[in-house]
């Protein structure tokens, strides 16, 4: 259970290009950070760095639990969840299979997976192969996977992409609730989030 996330003096490089440096942030339980900036500024890269998928060339990312600092790898294994530009869903498998697998993999159970599916209005499409889903349905499936897992730190890379109005509202509601319950959100987005959040502006 992660209760705080801190970044200190972060710098991330892709290839030879330095995307940003000297970046600091603090998120506490119930808090959110929104990363904004033009295309290619480094939002996704920052999120991946927090997820431990990219090593920053400088600075450090710290995770804290109720009982003080947690070893980052451990924190990520047990406390983080990610929604990226790619959703990691296999087109040839049934939506239900994928939802169940990822939920279990991240420590959730069939019950919570089912609840998530209902919340996002996926019941009807669960039997379909993922490749048959519409873009928005697919995105909802990824979101269902997120909320079905008992993880407190959500890393969201443009979570609203290709959602319709109704789904957006649902997601905003979900985010609000997650924060109320003491979760944390670290999101990259081109549109404002409905929750009070620290804004990290990259690429200026």
């Amino acid at each position: 259970m992660i209760t705080a996330l801190t970044g200190r003096d972060l710098a991330v490089k892709r290839g030879e290009r330095l995307l940003f440096e000297g970046l600091d942030f603090d998120v506490r339980a119930g808090g959110a950070v929104v990363v904004t900036g033009p295309n290619g500024a480094g939002k996704t890269s920052l999120i991946r760095a927090v997820a431990g998928l990219i090593a920053p060339v400088q600075g450090r990312i710290g995770f804290h639990g109720p009982a003080g600092p947690i070893e980052p790898d451990e924190a990520r294994r047990a406390g983080c969840h990610l929604i990226g530009h790619q959703d990691g869903l296999k087109g040839a498998r049934a939506a239900r299979e994928e939802l169940l697998f990822w939920t279990r993999w991240t420590g959730g159970g069939a019950a919570s997976a089912h609840r998530a599916a209902v919340l996002l209005g996926l019941e009807r499409i669960l039997p379909l192969e993922v490749r048959l889903l519409s873009a928005g349905q697919r995105r909802r499936l990824a979101l269902a996977r997120l909320i079905a897992a008992p993880r407190s730190l959500w890393l969201l890379d443009e979570p609203f992409v290709s959602l319709d109005g109704a789904a957006r509202a649902t997601l905003q509601e979900i985010l609000r609730r997650h924060l109320e319950e003491g979760g944390m959100v670290f999101a990259a987005s081109h549109e404002p989030l409905p929750v009070a959040a620290q804004i990290l502006e990259l690429g200026r």
């Binding site: 991946r48 997820a51 431990g52 998928l53 990219i54 090593a55 990520r76 294994r77 047990a78 983080c80 969840h81 990610l82 990226g84 530009h85 790619q86 959703d87 990691g88 869903l89 296999k90 040839a92 498998r93 299979e97 697998f101 990822w102 279990r104 993999w105 991240t106 420590g107």
Partner: protein, 221 residues
């Protein structure tokens, strides 16, 4: 269900979906068995001489099929990111993938090997060793091949590297197995060769996960 169990279940399904499961490997295997005789020609007995060797080679090659699909899809569609955020270290994930590969392709191939060998006109008495060598060998091929696939995916270059990287690695087990089968069939002492094969397989199972884990990490960055 434990995380490992869930993952194994998924991987098994994926190997099935990807290659049509055992049937791809078996189909390829059968294809070799069907094509070789036609190419060699009808003259009887000719083929029998090399039956074991041909079967063994075919098995080795069949295990190489679909290797390039072991990690690449998961990397491309972002699944590997989420696997990395899971409860098990990537080394473990890699090991499970290879295990699935072996369960779905390797084991059936090992079972089919004696049949193919006999179908090609080889001596039935060689069958037991075909089975033993097939089982051990395919295990080694699966893990070594997996390592190659992981290294390659990090380099984002399909087949060429796999061929170049994996082939040298699988040559030793192929030799050991070939010798063991030959010796067994011709009544010479076969134990040492088989022991070597077994040792290689064990080493592969023990060490390659580390390599795979590191390679995947490196691919993600």
């Amino acid at each position: 269900m434990s995380a490992a169990g869930t993952l194994l279940a998924r991987e098994l399904r994926l190997v099935f979906a990807r290659g049509g499961g055992p049937l791809l490997a078996l189909g390829f295997f059968a294809c070799v068995a069907a094509v070789l005789p036609l190419a060699v020609g009808p003259a009887p007995g000719k083929l029998a001489l090399v039956a074991q060797g041909a079967a063994w080679t075919a098995l080795a090659l069949s295990m190489l099929l679909g290797l390039d699909r072991l990690f690449e899809p998961d990397l491309d569609d972002g699944a590997l990111d989420l696997l990395a955020l899971g409860p098990l270290p990537l080394a473990f994930v890699g090991a499970i993938k290879c295990l699935a590969q072996w369960l779905v392709n390797g084991a059936p191939l090992a079972l089919a090997a004696p049949i193919v060998e006999v179908a090609l006109g080889g001596p039935p008495r060689a069958a037991p060793m075909m089975l033993a060598a097939g089982a051990l060998g395919s295990l080694a091929f699966a893990f070594v091949g997996g390592t190659g696939a992981a290294l390659v995916v990090a380099a984002r270059r399909g087949g060429l590297l796999i061929a170049v990287i994996v082939i040298p690695l699988i040559v030793p087990p192929v030799i050991f197995g070939g010798v063991a089968i030959d010796a067994y069939a011709s009544g010479q002492p076969w134990a040492p060769a088989l022991a070597l094969l077994g040792a290689y397989a064990l080493a592969a199972v023990a060490l390659s996960p580390l390599a795979m884990g590191a390679a995947c990490r490196n691919a993600l960055g």
